[in-house]
């Protein structure tokens, strides 16, 4: 798995961002401001900037720079934000109930973001390596087509061409497999037959896979099953490629709520600084 290295501009941004934030934190230290308050405001700023990326995606028609540039900014600020977050919590675990919620949510947000960064750079290349250029929207159709094709194959057989055990195996194992989902982890593929190991194990009860997959009438079905195995791997990768967004985006929404509350509470209870 090859990972595209991060954009040099983003790295530069991270460096600059950290230096600038560091300057402000240092400045806060020398003016006797509460460092958590200063880092908190900068953190809030970085969070707003991070959220702006989501807003920008909704207005692709405005000439405010390409989304790709914004994504690099987003990633850069993401790194800065995680450093600021650690500064803000002073590198310790939270103690209060509300604080813990904030901490966990933000941690989840950052971790899912970094995971996303990783998979978005690592997966596309592998995803294309299987030669399938398939719009995800068409996958369900493709699957339905496979089931239909396979059913047609079986229906087109002369009676007695396949023994009943195999037919039973087809209807109880192979067909359910063709209709099944892909799960979250790639399944182990049998090196010889090109179908998942689990499927072979289940088939053992009906007919020896060696016999089954070498029997001529079953060959077209075997081909479809192999295709399905490849497609499943593709789907798993697709899932990972964008699945992290199902954490990242919803948590952002909740985070906004929590941050507003957090800001209200800390500003209300602040005990003052130096005057």
């Amino acid at each position: 798995m090859k990972i595209r290295p991060p954009h040099s501009g983003a790295l530069l941004l991270i460096l600059i961002g950290i230096v600038v934030s560091f300057y402000f934190l240092e400045q806060a230290d020398t003016t006797l401001a509460n460092p958590a308050v200063t880092s908190g405001w900068i953190l809030l700023g970085s969070f707003v900037l991070l959220c702006l990326y989501g807003v920008r995606k909704k207005v692709p028609f405005l000439p405010i720079g390409k989304t790709a540039t914004w994504l690099q900014l987003h990633l850069g600020f993401g790194v800065i934000s995680s450093w600021l977050f650690l500064e803000h919590v002073d590198y310790r675990f939270p103690t209060g109930l509300f604080e813990t919620q904030l901490y966990l949510l933000y941690g989840l947000l950052l971790i899912s973001g970094f995971l996303g960064w990783l998979v978005m750079r690592a997966l596309p290349e592998t995803l294309r390596a299987d030669g399938r250029e398939l719009n995800p929207l068409r996958i369900p159709d493709e699957l339905a087509g496979m089931v239909k094709k396979s059913d047609d194959c079986i229906a087109g057989l002369e009676p007695g061409e396949l023994n009943p055990e195999i037919l039973k195996g087809y209807f109880e194992v192979v067909r359910p497999y063709l209709c099944s989902g892909c799960g979250f982890l790639p399944s182990r593929i049998h090196p010889e037959f090109g179908v998942p190991q689990s499927l072979i194990q289940r088939l053992q009860d009906y007919e020896s896979p060696t016999v089954l997959f070498s029997s001529d009438p079953f060959l077209p079905v075997h081909k479809i099953v192999r295709e399905k195995a490849v497609l499943d791997l593709h789907r798993v990768r697709q899932r990972w490629l964008r699945g992290w967004l199902f954490v990242h985006v919803p948590v952002t929404g909740v985070m906004v709520l929590m941050i507003v509350l957090h800001v209200i509470l800390v500003t209300a209870f602040k005990a003052g600084g130096a005057s």
Binding site: P60, F61, T67, P124, R242
Partner: protein, 561 residues
Amino acid sequence: MCPVTGSDIHDSEEDSRGHCFSPEAIPRVVLDWVQYNSILSIAWDECDSRGKSIESILQIDARVVEYEKADIIIRKGDYGGSVLIPLEGEIRVNLEESGEKNFARKRVTRKRSWLSALGQIFRRKTPVERIKTDSSTDKVYSSKAHVPRLDVDLEEYMSKNLTRRIGLGEICGEIAALRRSPRTASIFAETDCKLLEIRWQGVREILKNSKEFSHYLEDLIGDRRHQIFSGMKTLTDLPEAIQRTLSAKSIFERWGSDHWNRNFRKIMQSQSSMIDRESVILQQGHHMDGLYVLLSGFARVTNKEGSEEKTVGYLRPGDVYGLKELMKLSRTGVGSPALRSIRAVGAIDLVVIPSSDFVEYVLPELKNLDIDQLGSEKGLISTELLDFFLDRRIVNGNQTMVIDLNRCTDCDDCVKACAVTHDGNPRFIREGYRHAKLMVATACMHCIDPVCLVGCPTGAIHREHSTGNVVITQSECIGCASCVESCPYDNIRTVEVQDANGEAVIDLETGKPVLKATKCDLCIDQPSGPACVNACPHDALHRINFSDASGVSSIVERITG
């Protein structure tokens, strides 16, 4: 009169001329004048005899336009699909290249304001393909939104610059109209004037029905063909006198059988090698007889490596080949054999400027910089990729959407962005031919040779004046799907339109749903330009102009690594 569309939304008297060029019928006086005093008189009877009277053609495809003194009627470099016949007043064509700067565009195309663009987010997204009853966005496409004026003292300009008057009843603008190429010269109004503007659909109708007229026009184009040099980026700066000399001495050639887009689909389905079915125009190693300038169609530049012909480049309309060899000739005095072979992709028109004439007339006018740039090959692109581009005729594109599959995460942000800017309707499909990690998506390429325009009966699909981008005026589209059929790339689709309530709009006569042709309009009215490019978070989506060799190679290099 106008073809009856029968669609239930065109029911008012005004809209009954919806697909005609002019909202008002052309007055009888004008028709009579044209019949006897203009160039059309030669075709008049012939057409009548064939049952397709010029009068009926003009009623659909012509209109009377008026210009004031110093108005710019045609601007060189613009894209336009109509010919003009002066009815009253004086118009002049500018012949001097140095004067062209006065005709330059001062205002770019009006775009939406940010506020109006932002309104798109809140616009109701259902139902899909809702027909617009206010044609507000159409106005942007309309060709005569603003008449530019010459901003100089007209008399002084005419005395100092070479111009030529176009007589009443003569025809002008025919090269661009028929070749789908940019205007080759600027035309301005010397006095207040009145012209008959016939869009190219009408001209084509007349040509179809009148041998006489088509001969005339061929002669005319032959007479004015020096102007084609103006349409070429290499030779555009040549003075008119040299252009005329060259056109007299050059050899005009036509190669290949069918126009490149004919039977394209059939050819694609055959598995045989493309390169073998292309006729060789120039054989590698043979005597180099002149500079090859491509007028239309595409040509493949190949290099023989061993026994195999490897594609090393391509020529698009306006491109030249042979500079390297001719430069050698001019420097050493010894002619060089052709370093590459040139093959015609489909049928092509080209002009060969003989070597001696090139050295004598063209070379002194060219700047060294140009030569180095023009002589270079698109060397960074692999043969396979060039083959892919040429075999698929993708080189036709000025705005080809190319997706880097190594970066694309299938997030469909580009499609969603497209939908946002088109009232909730995507205008392309994120699928298409792929070569290695490069995919050419099914989106309008805004071709240099837009063959989709050919069949359009109403002119709804046309090139935008300033940029040459191909756009469809929704209100003029009758859903005949001829453009859909014409597009060799399957980039145009018809959709069944719906009214505001989500009900399909049904043609009352046929009982079938009303269709409209849709395609990528390059977000022509959006402040940002193409939203898809803007929206891609991974910089995976590019629009490639195949004229820009360095741009192509830099993007391709990036994708193929």
